[in-house]
Amino acid sequence: MSMADRLKIAVFKMTGCAGCQMEFLRLEEELPFVLEVAEIRYFVMAKRENLEGPYDVSFVEGSVSTPRELEELRDLRERSRIVVAFGDCACHGCVPSILNWVRPDVAAKTVYEDYQAIHSKKESYQEICPLEKFVPVDVHLRGCPPHKNMILEVLRSTALGAKPFLRRHPVCVECKLRENVCILTFEKRACMGPVTAAGCRAICPTANRECEGCYGPMSDANASSLAQQFLKIGLTRDDVTRKFRKYAGITQAFAGEAGEQ
């Protein structure tokens, strides 16, 4: 690929933890090859000279929680051929979305002595919104964080002009491939695997731990059935609510079990 043909890519950050950008920078052995196929034109955490675009692929980390971010999102959408909702916050709010169940005045008072004094100068919505609420998104890269191989898949497929192959079958499929004994069935532990999108290689059950659902809902997830199962094995209703109100409580698939906002 000649220098001129390289994909023009951008990495943006909204309200998030930078973990997805860190996963991008975890392309360590792969970085020299990535730079052969892609030109990184915008990436404030890693670059001082950031170019306006247009971009072929924009990776957008974080959710939208200020007017400034919303303006930036709309603007980058205009300048990008493919917009990637990069990670859970961008796809479905992730852990910060738990805030959506807290009354805004209560949240403000808990953290700042005089919230109004800052808020009057700096606006914040106090609500976590996924990108798709405001702009069309082309690719959802789920996970907290999405595994770096999925980032490579997006770059590879875009370079080839193909649609990226991203799984939405449950974690259970990957768990079986790793020959784990089911901890939900045999140990009665509250594993979110049956309703959670794959891509992580079932790392949690493999590490003798319940899946917590950090890739968000799989396609056609049956959340209420799993919630019933959780109640049967001894979880309280509050426990179940906390399980579903964690990484993707604001999605339609989990909203019923995550409780009303």
Partner: protein, 430 residues
């Protein structure tokens, strides 16, 4: 000739998160100086209320993708202190390995990706590929080492999964640990080369004596627990943190500012740790410090980079020692839930991190309190800039702006954690 200058950086590059810098100078006096964080607040302390104590570390991990490990360890220790749990030596050791992994990857990111391009005259590490591929490869090898270490112990590099209250859900395999030991040994030369490389750079001379605060322990280089000590004689237990260090809000920033009661701003991070714990660094780290002429105490914040590089050497040496003693056996992780309040302080790569939780009888969080390193450094960064800006009056606007940014990068701020942005634009009028 009257001189008015404005330094504005709208979105500080090569730091984590969204922050800005605004400085107005008139007749040599600073009229306004703001290191501002416009990254929106995330209200973790509010939504942690009502969550179960067993998931607090998993949730607080999401405060920061660069230092999820210290957030996890601090949360775990605070919860364990509240529940009266005494962890095993093995858990202590495995957590230390994990936090060292976190320090290595974060330090290498700051040194090579964020800071080095300024010193070598590039806009980014990516732009250095043609001329400095060797340096980049060294950076990538070391960064991978840190991430691999976290992954081996914690199950995943960013937001690890296997560290839980009172232990680990999975203990690493002996064979894998043996392999890690070899990788650490192999990386040692890269770490030593890093100290020499950064010492060879033209690091600005700028001394401003401020109080340095770090954890300290008699038996080890303290990163996960210890007493809170300072260069001005502070010596307190972690549960007294809030009595000695007060936070206040400033109306231009979403990050609160910390000050020591009765004294003022202070510095946390690698320079403070090395200044206060030099004797506990590994033999080779101390020897290298001497060879490159690094003397303690050192009050030049730009020298944080050398401290950072020395810490990478120390981390490798200490990790090898830990691997040689850790038994790697299955342990009982069971514990009882009870009500209580717990406090914990650890060293994140960029400095002191404080968590505290009040837990009810049902194991549910009733109150949460978190102070991050960048919130503690924010005021000190401003105070440094206040002295730096007049001292660089002879530089061009562009050079002065860059110098201010370099100072900020030397602190390695983590803005997502602090939940503050730099745009330096100086206008000169006569």
């Amino acid at each position: 000739m009257s001189k008015e200058r404005e330094i504005q950086v709208g979105y500080i590059a090569r730091v984590e998160g969204q922050g800005s810098l605004e400085i107005k100078v008139s007749y040599g006096n600073i009229e306004e100086l703001r290191f501002e964080i416009f990254e929106p607040p995330k209200f973790f302390e509010a939504f942690l209320i009502g969550r179960h104590c067993s998931e607090v570390h998993e949730l607080t991990s999401r405060i920061c993708g660069i230092c999820p490990v210290p957030h996890q360890i601090t949360a775990l220790r605070a919860v364990e202190n509240a529940l009266g749990i005494r962890i095993s030596e093995q858990t202590r050791d495995l957590r230390k390995l994990m936090n060292y992994g976190s320090h290595i990857q974060s330090h290498i990111l700051n040194l090579y990706f964020l800071a080095a391009p300024d010193y070598l005259g590039y806009e980014s590490l990516f732009a250095m590929v043609k001329e400095h591929l060797g340096i980049i490869k060294r950076a990538l090898r070391l960064k991978k080492l840190g991430n691999d270490l976290i992954e081996l112990v914690g199950g995943r590099a960013v937001h690890p999964i296997s560290a839980v209250v009172n232990g680990f859900t999975k203990i690493p395999e002996k064979e894998d640990m043996k392999l890690m030991r070899k990788m650490l040994l192999d990386a040692k030369q890269d770490a030593c080369d890093t100290v020499e490389f950064f010492s060879s750079l033209n690091i600005p001379k700028f001394d401003r004596k401020s109080e340095h605060v770090a954890l300290s322990s008699s038996g080890e280089f303290a990163i996960n627990e210890g007493l809170l000590v300072s260069t001005e004689g502070m010596r307190i237990e972690e549960d007294k943190y809030r009595e000695c260090i007060k936070e206040s809000q400033v109306d231009y920033s979403w990050s609160k500012h910390s000050q020591i009661v009765g004294r003022g701003s202070f510095l946390v991070g690698p320079l403070a740790r090395v200044n206060l714990n030099f004797d506990r660094l590994s033999h080779d780290a101390r020897k290298l410090a001497k060879e490159v002429g690094f003397e303690v105490p050192n009050f030049n914040p730009f020298m944080s980079h050398i401290a950072r590089a020395l810490e990478v050497v120390n981390a490798i040496d200490d990790c090898i020692e830990i691997i040689d003693r850790v038994p790697l056996r299955e342990e009982d992780r069971s514990y009882d839930i009870r009500s209580g309040t717990g406090f914990a302080v650890t060293e994140a790569p960029r400095g002191i991190l404080y968590h505290s939780y009040e837990i009810g009888e049902d194991g549910v969080v009733k109150k949460a309190d978190i102070v991050t390193p960048t919130a503690q450094n924010a005021r000190n960064i401003e105070n440094d800039l206040r002295e730096l800006v007049p001292a660089i009056a002879d530089l061009t606007d562009e050079e002065a702006t860059l110098r201010c940014e370099m100072l900020i990068r030397a602190y390695d701020p983590c803005i997502s954690c602090s939940v503050h942005y730099v745009n330096l634009d100086r206008s000169e009028s006569k």
